[in-house]
């Protein structure tokens, strides 16, 4: 067979194999976690907080960690969104090609790769300095730091891809920069903005290291921003660390919960994205 045809075939196989490895590992993770945790999933797990001796295999559930995680990641995502969108818009619409913009982008790329334990210990240091103890607020602050680079850079990329002629249409009707940014840029970028939010939320809800010192862990559901908060990743960590097989099984069940939360949010946002895509100009 001639060389070019062989090449063509070789690279096609290579790409298919790579894709299968990706899908295969995703499936493997899901199957193992669900398989090992399925037996421990029960209604009480979702509706109760841990009772005495829960970590020894007695009664109770992980409602504290489910609610704690939603509070932590939800709060951090809202906070990060409020900072990220203006920043991303500023980088693209106002500070385009300025030194400040390229420096900001570079800093964000560095921050993106900072390990989350660093955010955690940084948050911890600040909290000690302020005399705060581990709390929902501290956890939210640390997770916000973790989310910011992801969210801003993801939004930045979508906003940067918006065709110039869209804005031109708005300017040529006599719109100001702000009107163009709010009514045209954001509208066009909305599906991408949603993806950025989801990406950041996923990172935050799955992170253990940044909340370990900042939010702490508790068997109760936090009643205020100043109470400590439990989280699912830490629930997995603590339960898996016990020597009891039934508690370890619960760790996997907690993992399933984490997956369910992330997957359902992902599905909802996918449906929403489709709806938002309707008006987007391609």
């Amino acid at each position: 067979m001639d060389k070019r045809k062989l090449e063509e075939r070789f690279f096609k196989v290579l790409m298919i194999v790579s894709t299968l490895i990706v899908l295969g590992s995703l499936m493997a993770v899901l199957v193992v976690v669900v398989f090992k945790g399925a037996a421990a999933i029960s209604l009480s797990m979702l509706t109760q907080t841990p009772r005495g001796g829960y970590y020894l295999g007695r009664e109770g559930g992980i409602l504290n960690a489910i609610v704690g995680s939603l509070y932590l990641a939800g709060g951090a995502t809202i906070l990060a969104y409020l900072i990220s969108l203006p920043t991303a818009l500023y980088l693209n619409e106002y500070a385009l090609k300025s030194k400040l913009a390229s420096f900001t982008r570079q800093s964000l790329d560095v921050l993106w790769s900072v390990p989350s334990i660093i955010y955690g210990s940084f948050g911890f240091t600040v909290m000690i300095y302020l005399g705060m103890r581990a709390s929902l607020l501290g956890g939210i602050a640390a997770l916000t730091l973790l989310e910011l680079p992801i969210m801003i850079r993801a939004m930045d990329e979508v906003i940067r891809m918006i065709p110039h002629k869209l804005k031109e249409a708005s300017y040529s009707l006599g719109a100001t920069k702000l009107e163009t940014t709010l009514d045209v840029t954001i509208r066009q970028a909305l599906p991408g903005i949603l993806t950025a939010i989801l990406l950041a939320f996923g990172r935050a809800i799955g992170d253990a290291a940044s909340v370990l010192f900042t939010a702490g862990y508790t068997d109760n559901i936090p009643a205020s921003l100043f109470d400590p908060a439990a989280s699912l990743p830490l629930a997995v960590f603590f339960q898996l660390g016990t020597p009891f097989p039934e508690v370890q099984q619960r760790a996997y069940a907690s993992g399933v919960m984490l997956l369910v939360i992330v997957l359902s949010i992902s599905i909802v946002s996918r449906v929403q994205t489709k709806r938002l895509m309707k008006y987007v100009i391609r």
Binding site: K165, E168, A169, S172, G174, Q188, Y279, V280, I281
Partner: protein, 252 residues
Amino acid sequence: MFEPHISIEKLNVYYGEHHALKNITLDISEKMIVAIIGPSGCGKTTLLRSLNRMIDLVDGVRVSGKVLVDRVNIYENSVDITSIRKKIGLIAQTPNLLPMSIYDNIAYGPRIHGTKNRKELDQIVEKYLRASDLWNEVQGRLKEPASKLSTGQQQRLCLARALAVEPEVLLCDEPTSALDPISARRIEGQLLALKKYYTIIFVTHILRQAKRLSDYVVFLYLGELIEHGPAEDVLADPRELRTQAYVKGEIS
């Protein structure tokens, strides 16, 4: 007495080092169609876009000279750019829709200029969709995304959108070049009909289109204004050698 609607005085435009328009002086009177012709890269689009300061959006652009519209220099610092662009609309080469419904594409302009009343907006939308001959086609689906329309319909929507802010001048940058011949003819018909109410300046590289539409022709070559005058004179019997060469098709 002849009072020009737009008066261009010693207009120079530079893109960085490149001198794109050289000392253009030109008067345009109202309610006629002016065609700007010339080979590609001669500065047609640049001239068009300097007339409503869309040129400002280009990186590293420098403009000197005056453009008087109704005797006001639009390059004066005290002038509000948004009101200039409201007064002088622009139709782009390819339809540039806003990411909104058909209705909102038209209502966008009036809304930013202060019309919030729903009934008024409904009337504006209908009026200008009729003016651009699109109403019958989209009447029942105003809430649909504008991007669902055909390219020809999209361009007529852009026309309606430009008209909806009630400009005095319409600038059209090769408005039919992305369209099929039938859609192109419809746009041409629209422009002819609109001449009664607006001063229309359009860029074209199709001489026959210039002949069909224009009352007045401006010929640019390498950033210089070579010749301008009534359409029949410039197109049929040009004075300048370079215009003659272009009209005969020797340079393009």
